[in-house]
C-alpha cells in the first residue's frame, strides 16, 4: 500500500502522506524511495508548477525517522549510509526546480522537520499539537538528514543550537518568531494557503527572509568570531548538563560548526559520519532501548489487554494539601484537565496547597505555554475545602496525607463512607504496605497505591501498587489516569518500599555508612554525579528530608532486617534538628533556598573527621548495594519485568540512562563479575553485601535479564 496520494490543483501537486497502518507518519526507507520517485515525476512533469507536502494523519505531520530501522543497524558503515541516504532525499527536495511547500499540522519532528527544512516554504497550523523539533540527541543521535546544516542557516546558530542540543520542540507561534516557519494559519485553511503559496512561489520566486535575530544576531550568528563565542558557550552548557556522559550533543555541535565554518558539503559529511558512529554506539543503543521501553509502557495497562475496563475520571478528590497533594492536584489539572478538589484539615493548609498547585499553572502562563483563557479555565478546575464537600461525586480519590498508618486508614474509612461505591481510593505512600492501609476497607477491590515522586510535576515516574484484592478495573483506571498525568507508569507489587524505594534504600544506607566512616560529603556526591546520577546520595537525602528518609529507613529495616539497618547518621542529624533543605539545615548549607556548600560542622555532629577516600570504591559500594537489592527485589517479583525495573530506576531515582538501568548494568558487567565484586565488598564491609541468591544462580548458569 502506498504511503502517498497525490492530487493536482491547477498545476499544484498536493502530496498527502498517510503511512498505512500507523498512527503517525514515519520516514522509513521505503517511504523515502517512494517520495523520491514522486518528486522526480513532478519535476519532469511540465504541467506541475509547484508541490505541497501535507499529512493525512489527524494530528501528525511526520514524527521522524523509523527508529526500528536504527536498531537493525549492525555496522557503523550501514548507519552512515542510512544518514547519507536521508541527506540525499532531503536534498532532492531542496534542489527540485519547483517550489515545495510544507503544510505542517501536528508533530513535525526529527527527520520530519529536516524534510520540512529542505522545502522552500513552511506553513504551520496554530494548533497546540503542532510542534517542531529535532529530538535526535534524546536518543543519543544527531539530526542526520541535513538538519544540522539547514536549521542554523535558517534561524541562526544560536537558536538552532538551542533546539538541536536540547532536542526540545517549539510551538507554531515560537517557530514563526524564530523564522522556522513562514506562516502560521488555522488548520481549516492550511491546505488552501499552502496551494496558494506554491502558486505564488512558482510565479514570483522565493520570498526574501530577513534575519529575525536583530543586532545581537548580526554579531553572534553572522561573524565567525561571534560564532566562536556561541560554540564555546554551547559546549560549556552541554558539558554542564550531560556531565560528559552523552556524546551526541557535542557531535551535533561539531556538525553544525563544520557546516557553518567549512561549508555545507563538509558539514553534511561530518553529519553522517557522526550519525554513523553514534547510531551504533552504546549510549544511543541504551537510550533507544529506554525509548522503546517507555513507549511499550504507554500501551501497558498492567493487566492483559481486554481483561479490564477503565473508569472515566471526571472528578478527582485529593486529601492532603501538602507538597505531594498539591503537586498531584496541579499536575492533574494541567495534564488531565480534570475537576480537582483539594481537602485538608484546615483552610490555611488548603490555601497553601491551592497556591502551590496554581503556581504550576501560573508558571506556564508566564512562559506563554498557556494562554490567559486556558489558564482561567484550568484554575477553575482547581478548588479546595476543609470539609468533604464535592467528594461525593469523585471518581478517584487520592490520599496524600503524611505517612501514618492510622491516619491513612481513618481517611480511607471517611472517604468510603462518602463516595459512590464505584469510586476508587488511591493512597500515596512511599513505604506503608497498601494491604495494611486497606485492611479494614469496605471495598478493598477499589483500593490501591499510587506512589508519586516529588516534585510531582517534574518527576516522570508513577508506581501503581495493586493489592491482592484490587480489581483489574481499578488497576487499569489508575494506570491510565497516571499516564494521562504525563507519567510513565509501572505496576509494582505491594512489598515494603515497592520498587524504587526498595532499591534506593540500601544505596542511601551505604551513603550513611560512608559518612560514618568520615568520607567527605562532596567526595561521595561528586563520585555519584560522575557515575551519572543527577545528584549525589547525600544531596538527595537533603532534598527528600532527613526525617522522611529516616522514617522510610526504619520501615525498611523492620521489613528486611539487618541488611537494611540504618547507619545512624540520620538520627544524629535529626537530633540536631537538621531536616535537610526544607528547614535550610542538612548536610549542606542553604542560602535563600540555594545550596551553599557542605556544612562542615556536620562532621563533628557525626563524630568523624573527614578523610580522603577512593572515589571508585565509593561508587562501587553505593552502586553494588543497589544492584544487589535490585536483583533480590526482582527475584521476589516486585516488578513485572526487567523493563519496568530499569525504567523505574532511571525515571524514579535518576539512575544513569546511558547505563540502561540496574538490571541492564548487571547484564553488561556480567552476573559473575557482579557476584565477585559483591563477595569482595561483603568480606570488607559485612553481610549487607552478601550477593543475592538470584545473582548467584544467574552467575552459575551465565544468565541475563535481557536477551543478549
Amino acid at each position: 500500500m502506498s504511503a502517498f496520494t497525490t492530487t493536482n490543483d491547477n498545476g499544484i501537486a498536493v502530496i498527502t502522506f498517510d503511512l498505512p497502518g500507523e498512527p503517525v507518519n514515519k520516514l522509513t526507507a521505503a517511504v523515502r524511495v517512494e517520495l523520491e520517485a514522486l518528486l522526480i515525476g513532478f519535476r519532469d512533469d511540465p504541467s506541475t508548477r509547484g508541490i505541497v507536502l501535507i499529512s493525512g494523519k489527524p494530528d501528525n505531520f511526520i514524527a521522524g525517522a523509523d527508529i526500528e530501522e536504527f536498531t537493525a543497524l549492525t555496522s557503523q558503515d550501514a548507519a552512515e549510509r542510512l544518514s547519507f541516504e536521508g541527506q540525499e532525499t532531503v536534498s532532492r527536495v531542496e534542489t527540485l526546480q519547483k517550489p515545495v511547500i510544507a503544510a505542517i499540522h501536528g508533530a513535525c519532528l526529527g527527520g520530519g522537520l529536516e524534510l520540512a527544512l529542505a522545502c522552500h516554504y513552511r506553513i504551520a497550523t496554530d494548533h497546540p499539537k503542532t510542534q517542531m523539533g529535532l529530538p535526535e540527541v534524546q536518543l543519543g543521535l544527531i539530526p542526520g538528514a541535513g538538519g544540522c546544516q539547514r536549521l542554523p542557516r535558517l534561524i541562526g546558530a544560536r537558536a538552532a543550537l538551542d533546539m538541536i542540543l536540547t532536542g526540545k520542540s517549539e510551538r507554531a507561534s515560537k517557530a514563526l518568531r524564530l523564522g522556522l516557519v513562514d506562516e502560521v494559519v488555522p488548520k481549516s485553511i492550511l491546505r488552501e494557503v499552502a496551494i496558494a503559496a506554491a502558486d505564488r512561489l512558482a510565479t514570483q520566486g522565493l520570498p526574501d527572509r530577513s534575519s529575525k535575530s536583530g543586532m545581537a544576531g548580526l554579531v553572534l550568528d553572522r561573524t565567525s568570531a561571534g560564532r566562536r563565542l556561541v560554540y564555546r558557550a554551547a559546549r560549556q552548557q552541554v558539558l554542564k548538563r550531560t556531565g560528559g556522559h552523552y556524546p551526541a550533543p557535542l557531535a551535533a555541535l561539531e556538525a553544525v560548526r563544520v557546516g557553518l565554518e567549512q561549508g555545507v558539503t563538509a558539514g553534511l559529511a561530518e553529519e553522517h559520519r557522526a550519525f554513523g558512529e553514534l547510531a551504533v554506539g552504546d549510549v544511543s543503543r541504551k537510550l533507544v532501548q529506554i525509548f522503546f521501553a517507555t513507549n511499550a509502557l504507554k500501551k501497558d495497562d498492567g493487566v492483559p489487554p481486554g481483561t479490564a475496563t477503565p473508569r472515566q475520571i471526571r472528578r478527582l478528590g485529593i486529601i492532603g494539601a501538602g507538597f505531594m497533594g498539591s503537586g498531584i492536584a496541579g499536575t492533574a489539572v494541567l495534564h488531565v484537565e480534570v475537576d480537582t478538589r483539594l481537602k485538608d484539615s484546615d483552610l490555611a493548609r488548603v490555601s497553601k496547597g491551592l497556591q502551590a498547585a496554581t503556581r504550576l499553572l501560573a508558571d506556564r502562563l508566564e512562559k506563554r505555554r498557556l494562554t490567559r483563557p486556558q489558564y482561567e479555565r484550568l484554575t477553575a478546575l482547581l478548588s479546595g475545602s476543609a470539609d468533604y464537600s464535592g467528594f461525593q461525586r469523585a471518581d478517584l480519590v487520592i490520599e496524600a496525607v503524611f505517612e501514618d498508618l492510622d491516619t491513612k486508614r481513618r481517611v480511607l474509612a471517611e472517604v468510603e463512607g462518602l463516595v459512590r461505591p464505584e469510586a476508587i481510593f488511591a493512597t500515596n505512600t512511599s513505604t506503608i504496605p497498601i494491604r495494611q492501609i486497606a485492611e479494614h476497607a469496605r471495598r478493598p477491590e477499589r483500593v490501591l497505591g499510587m506512589h508519586f515522586f516529588s516534585p510531582v510535576e517534574r518527576m516522570p515516574l508513577l508506581e501503581v501498587i495493586p493489592t491482592a484484592a484490587t480489581s483489574p478495573d481499578t488497576l487499569v483506571t489508575a494506570v491510565r489516569f497516571g499516564r494521562r498525568m504525563g507519567k510513565t507508569v509501572i505496576v509494582v507489587a505491594d512489598h515494603p518500599g515497592f520498587w524504587v524505594n526498595r532499591i534506593l534504600s540500601p544505596y542511601l544506607n551505604e551513603a550513611g555508612h560512608l559518612l560514618q566512616e568520615g568520607v567527605p560529603i562532596e567526595l561521595i556526591d561528586s563520585a555519584m554525579t560522575r557515575f551519572g546520577f543527577p545528584v549525589g546520595p547525600v544531596a538527595l537525602l537533603d532534598e527528600v528530608g532527613l526525617d522522611v528518609a529516616e522514617k522510610a529507613g526504619n520501615v525498611m529495616h523492620e521489613a528486611f532486617g539487618e541488611r537494611m539497618k540504618p547507619a545512624g547518621s540520620l538520627s544524629r542529624m535529626l537530633g540536631a534538628t537538621r531536616l535537610g533543605r526544607k528547614n535550610g539545615r542538612g548536610f549542606y548549607r542553604y542560602k535563600e533556598g540555594h545550596k551553599a556548600g557542605v556544612d562542615k560542622s556536620v562532621y563533628a555532629l557525626l563524630g568523624v573527621r573527614p578523610t580522603d577516600a577512593d572515589a571508585s570504591l565509593v561508587q562501587r559500594r553505593l552502586v553494588y548495594a543497589m544492584l544487589n537489592e535490585a536483583a533480590m527485589a526482582c527475584a521476589e517479583n516486585v516488578v513485572r519485568s526487567p523493563r519496568d525495573a530499569d525504567i523505574g530506576a532511571i525515571f524514579g531515582i535518576g539512575f544513569p540512562a546511558f547505563r540502561g538501568g540496574p538490571l541492564r548494568m548487571i547484564d553488561d558487567v556480567g552476573a559473575g563479575r557482579v557476584v565477585e565484586t559483591l563477595y569482595q565488598l561483603q568480606e570488607q564491609y559485612g553481610e549487607r553485601f552478601r550477593p543475592a541468591p538470584a545473582l548467584l544462580e544467574m552467575s552459575r548458569r551465565s544468565g541475563r535479564y535481557y536477551p543478549a
Partner: protein, 431 residues
C-alpha cells in the same frame, strides 16, 4: 392553605455566597466574574450536584463590567458545567438577584427547566470607569484617522477637563438625587429620628455578629482565598461590627445633610462586593436527585413608585401584593427579611405597613401588619452584612430559607427596596 396556582412547585435546594466585603478591601484585586464563579462552583460542590443537571444559569449584576456584560455566561462556562448550559444576566437594581431567582422559578414552574442556578454579584472594586463623552469621541475619531498627522490633530482638540473620568454614581438618573439624599428625605417626611435609625443599625450589627459567631451566617459562606498568594483566607463578612454601640453610632456625622440630617454611614448599608447564588429545582426533580429542599417559592410581586417622591417606598406596595398572591396575611409569616438599604427606609416601610392611612391609600381593609422584631432580620441585615447590589436578593433567599428550616417556620417573606422607586417582595413556604 392550598396552593391553587398553575404549574409546578419550585424548591430552593441550597444557597451559597462569598463573604461580603466592603468595596476596596479583600476583593480589591479580583473581578465580579471571579466572585460569581466562585460562589456558583462552591454551590455545585456543596450540593454535590452533577453540572450536567443544570438547565440554565441566570445571574444579575447592577453595575456590569463592559468587558463581561453577561456575567451569567461566564458562570455557566465554568468547567464543572457542560458548555451547553445557556445563561443570561438581568438587572432589577437592588432586587436583581431576587428577580433572577423568580425568573428561574417561573421557568421551572412552566416546565421549561428542571434545575437552574440563579444568583447575583456586584463588585464596586471592579467598576467600569468611563471617559468623558468628548474624550470618547476623540478616541473614536483618532482610531478612524487616516494619517499620523490627522491623529495628532484629533488629540489636539482635547481639553484637560475632558480627561476627568466619569464614575458611575448611585444617583437616580431621573431626578439626580443620590440614594442617600432620598433616604434623608424619607427620614424627614416620615418623622424618623436619628436614634431610631441608630437602634436599627445597632441591632443589625449585633444580630449579624451573633449569627456569625454561632455559624448561622457563616454556614452560607464559601471561604475565599484572596491575595496574590491566595493566603488571605476570608470566611466572614468584613463589615459586621460586634463592638459598635449607640454611643459610637451617635457620634457619626450625617453625610447627606450635614446640618439637619440623620442619615449617617453607620445607619446605611456600605458599598459592598460579593456574590450569592441559589440552586432551584422543581419539587419532583429535587426529590428524584435526593435533595431535601430548604423551602419552596410561593409568590412574588414587584411594584414601582415615582422616584421623585419617596424613592424607597416600593416595598409598601409590593408586600401586600405578594401576600395576596400567596393567599396569606402578614400574621401568618414566621420570618421576615427586610433589606436594609438605610435604617430610615426600613423604618419608613415598617411605619407604612402598620398604618391605617396607608391601608386606606392601598385600598386594604386594615394595616398590612405590625413588625415583630423577634421574627424580622433575625441574623442582621444589609447595614451590617453589606449590600452588593446584584447579590443581596440571593443572600436574603438563602438566609431566610436556612432560618425557616432551622426554626421550622411555614411561611417567610422577603422585602427589598430598589433603585428607580421599585419594591420587591417574595414569599417562601416550607411545607
Amino acid at each position: 392553605m392550598v396552593d391553587t396556582r398553575p404549574g409546578r412547585r419550585v424548591a430552593v435546594v441550597a444557597g451559597i455566597r462569598t463573604p461580603f466585603a466592603k468595596s476596596g478591601t479583600v476583593y480589591r484585586d479580583t473581578t465580579a466574574v471571579a466572585l460569581a464563579r466562585h460562589a456558583a462552583r462552591e454551590l455545585l460542590f456543596r450540593s454535590e450536584i452533577d453540572g450536567a443537571e443544570i438547565d440554565e444559569v441566570i445571574f444579575s449584576q447592577v453595575v456590569p463590567s463592559v468587558l463581561t456584560p453577561n456575567v451569567a455566561r461566564e458562570v455557566s462556562l465554568l468547567p464543572q458545567l457542560p458548555p451547553s448550559v445557556p445563561a443570561y444576566t438581568i438587572n432589577r437594581a437592588c432586587a436583581s438577584a431576587a428577580q433572577a431567582i423568580n425568573n428561574a422559578a417561573d421557568q421551572i414552574r412552566l416546565g421549561n427547566a428542571d434545575v437552574i442556578l440563579a444568583g447575583g454579584v456586584e463588585s464596586l472594586s471592579d467598576l467600569p470607569i468611563l471617559h468623558s463623552r468628548r474624550f470618547s469621541r476623540t478616541l473614536v475619531e483618532a482610531s478612524k484617522a487616516r494619517s499620523v498627522g490627522q491623529r495628532i490633530a484629533t488629540f489636539g482638540r482635547v481639553r484637560p477637563r475632558d480627561l476627568v473620568p466619569v464614575t458611575p454614581a448611585i444617583a437616580e438618573p431621573s431626578t439626580g438625587e443620590t440614594m442617600g439624599q432620598s433616604a434623608e428625605k424619607m427620614a424627614k417626611e416620615n418623622g424618623i429620628s436619628r436614634e431610631e435609625q441608630d437602634r436599627v443599625a445597632l441591632m443589625s450589627h449585633q444580630r449579624a455578629s451573633a449569627a456569625t459567631a454561632d455559624g448561622r451566617l457563616t454556614r452560607e459562606i464559601a471561604a475565599w482565598f484572596g491575595g496574590r498568594d491566595m493566603d488571605q483566607i476570608v470566611t466572614e463578612d468584613n463589615g459586621i461590627r460586634s463592638d459598635t454601640s449607640l454611643e459610637a453610632l451617635g457620634k457619626l456625622k450625617p453625610v447627606f445633610d450635614r446640618k439637619y440630617g440623620s442619615v449617617t454611614a453607620g445607619n446605611s448599608s456600605p458599598l459592598t462586593d460579593g456574590a450569592a447564588v441559589v440552586l432551584l429545582m422543581s419539587e419532583e426533580k429535587a426529590r428524584a436527585l435526593g435533595h431535601e429542599p430548604l423551602a419552596y417559592i410561593r409568590s412574588y410581586a414587584v411594584s414601582a413608585v415615582d422616584p421623585g417622591w419617596q424613592l424607597l417606598m416600593g416595598p409598601v406596595y409590593a408586600v401586600p401584593k405578594a401576600l395576596e398572591r400567596a393567599g396569606l396575611t402578614w400574621k401568618e409569616l414566621g420570618l421576615v427579611e427586610i433589606h436594609e438599604a438605610f435604617a430610615a427606609q426600613v423604618l419608613s416601610n415598617i411605619q407604612a405597613w402598620g398604618s391605617q392611612a396607608w391601608a386606606d391609600r392601598l385600598g386594604l381593609p386594615g394595616p398590612i401588619g405590625e413588625v415583630d422584631w423577634d421574627r424580622t432580620n433575625v441574623a442582621g441585615g444589609s447595614i451590617a452584612i453589606g449590600h452588593p447590589f446584584g447579590a443581596t436578593g440571593a443572600r436574603l433567599v438563602t438566609t431566610l430559607a436556612n432560618e425557616m428550616r432551622r426554626r421550622d417556620v411555614e411561611f417567610g417573606l422577603i422585602s427589598i427596596c430598589a433603585q428607580g422607586g421599585m419594591g420587591y417582595a417574595m414569599v417562601l413556604e416550607r411545607r
